[in-house]
């Protein structure tokens, strides 16, 4: 039992990382209807920014907000320069553009920082808590805590501020939003900025557990896709629940299903994606595309 709980705790830790990247995916999907395949790469780029700041002597907890601000501006820039020109184009065109962005950002990071791995500093202290035999590392608690704070701030932004209301209106019905005087294009830029910021959090959190290199987020992105699919691509709450579930499912199957083990556990998110699409395509919290006339 203790052993099982231990695995669940580990799973929640990685699940929180998946949840934040999934949340970034969901944010963009809600605002633009686009599945952004470059989300993980943008997060990786943000992580390099943080690494560069720390490497040049900035304390981590100062480098983090600076990185998030840079990511926010970067996300808005990407929307304006890369996505805006293909606005209204067929879905496949936009998907290809995000895939192109994926390759571009990946290569750009390699060009600037090379493909050799870098050590990312662990921002949380070593050690942890002992809860009835279950060991909870400070880093696990820290990751969950940071992600929880990000979710809380997003909730406050969307539900309790005028700009959040305007953003939700624009996501819900762009045509009517424009008729109410909302500059929808600016809202889309904001949405991309926010998504890039949330994605950056996931990159910075996961980097100490992995090694920092341009392909770092590839695996995480697949887990995030599974999380968003499971929770429902249009549901922020679903992204979080889905992320935690995927994290726990991954560790448990890795630990207890011998056939799968550590090597095959990457297959877990793919099985989840497949199962959800077959059984409940809109995900747990998503809405099927029907509307009352």
């Amino acid at each position: 039992m203790t052993e099982l709980l231990q695995q669940v705790v580990e799973g929640l830790g990685s699940g929180a990382v998946y949840a934040s990247l999934a949340l970034a995916l969901v944010l963009i999907y809600r605002f633009t209807g686009i599945v952004n395949f470059a989300q993980g790469e943008l997060a990786m780029l943000s992580t390099y920014v943080a690494w560069q700041l720390v490497a040049s002597g900035m304390p981590f907890w100062l480098a983090l907000p600076v990185t998030l601000a840079v990511s926010f501006a970067g996300g808005m820039l990407v929307e304006r320069i890369v996505i805006r020109p293909v606005q209204g184009a067929p879905e496949l065109t936009v998907v290809i553009v995000t895939v192109g962005l994926f390759i571009f950002v990946n290569a750009l990071a390699g060009l600037i920082w090379s493909f050799t791995v870098k050590d990312f500093p662990q921002p949380f202290p070593d050690g942890g808590l002992d809860l009835a035999g279950v060991r909870v590392d400070w880093s696990t608690l820290g990751i969950i805590g940071v992600v929880a704070v990000v979710m809380g701030l997003l909730y406050l932004l969307f539900q309790h501020t005028p700009i959040g209301l305007v953003m939700r209106a624009a996501a819900c019905n762009p045509a009517s939003a424009r008729l109410s005087g909302i500059r929808v294009n600016r809202v889309l830029m904001l949405g991309w900025g926010l998504a890039a910021t949330v994605g950056a959090v996931s990159g910075v959190l996961v980097a100490p557990l992995l090694f920092l290199e341009p392909n770092m987020m590839g695996g995480v992105l697949i887990y995030a896709f599974a999380a968003a699919t499971l929770g429902g691509f249009d549901s922020p709450v679903g992204a979080v629940v889905g992320g935690l579930f995927v994290g726990v499912a991954e560790t448990l199957t890795g630990a207890y299903v011998d056939v799968i083990g550590a090597d095959l556990k990457v297959g877990v998110p793919l099985v989840i994606i497949l199962a959800v699409l077959l059984v409940r395509p809109q995900g747990l919290f998503g809405r099927a595309a029907v509307e009352r006339a």
């Binding site: 005028p162 209301l165 209106a169 819900c172 009517s176 424009r178 008729l179 109410s180 909302i182 929808v184």
Partner: protein
């Protein structure tokens, strides 16, 4: 205790402005399809103007050209300001509130949030907050059903309530020009009548200029001061609403409804 401060500033102006909205030689369409082929009409300040005509005559396109949803050629001025060539969000900022066909509410948002979105251009200014709160009350006064459902998601409302909400949201803008596109579409006759009575009340109490596009000519003529009948993108008939209504034969030809028969019934 305090003096009544709700006196209408509009009433003080008084002066007629026959060309408050002035449409001159308006051409508009979608891609290759040219729907409007040179439209001229004016709407006086404080007037309700009905645009009637058969399907495909260009009624909806006219409204869309006024609010920037489709591009047009020619000239459309509101109180002297050119509206053509503006985006919908710019038109909204100039006081044009358009209630699109099929309502266009924000279905994920609550009723009250929908109304607040309507006022978002104003609520940014701190001084306007009290005015926005007063406007919420004003809208709930016109539409008591919306007050009961203020915390409910707009998507869960009935068709009639959604239409009321869409109009309420447009009014939160405090528009100088209110455009209504087929407000009766898909609604029960009783609900439609209630809706039109409210539009009439809004027009009388706030002197909001209204342009309403309707298939249901009878209803629209009941609340309109003037009416224009479109046919194939051109003005076929114009005049005071009462006159159009009386002129049964012409109405029958252009509107495809028997107005004279209804009158006797």
């Amino acid at each position: 205790m305090s003096e009544p401060t709700t006196e209408r500033t509009e009433a003080a102006e008084g002066a007629e402005q026959p060309d408050f909205l002035k449409v001159t030689d308006l051409h508009a369409g979608y891609g290759q399809a040219r729907v409007l082929q040179g439209l001229d009409f004016s709407v006086a300040r404080g007037e309700v103007c009905a645009i009637l005509g058969p399907n495909g005559a260009g009624k909806t396109t006219t409204l869309r050209a006024l609010c920037g949803m489709v591009r047009g050629r020619g000239s459309v001025t509101l109180n002297g300001t050119q509206l053509l060539g503006r985006s919908p969000e710019q038109a909204a900022r100039l006081g044009v509130a358009h209630v699109p066909e099929g309502r266009g509410t924000f279905n994920d948002l609550t009723v009250e949030e929908n109304l607040r979105v309507g006022a978002h251009l104003r609520s940014r200014r701190r001084a306007e907050r009290a005015a926005v709160a007063a406007d919420l009350e004003r809208i709930y006064g016109y539409f008591p059903k919306l007050r009961q459902r203020s915390r409910q998601a707009a998507g869960s409302l009935s068709g009639g309530e959604q239409q009321m909400l869409a109009i309420g949201r447009a009014l939160m803008l405090r528009p100088s020009l209110l455009l209504l596109d087929e407000p009766s579409l898909g609604l029960a006759p009783l609900v439609t009548r209630e809706l039109f009575e409210i539009v009439r009340a809004v027009n009388e109490e706030e002197r909001t200029t209204v342009v309403v596009v309707e298939q249901n000519a009878q209803l629209a003529l009941d609340i309109a001061h003037r009416a224009h009948v479109l046919e194939a993108g051109r003005l076929a008939l114009s005049g005071p609403a009462a006159q159009i209504r009386e002129d049964g034969q012409v109405a029958e030809v252009y509107l495809g409804v028997s107005v004279s028969a209804r009158k006797t019934g």
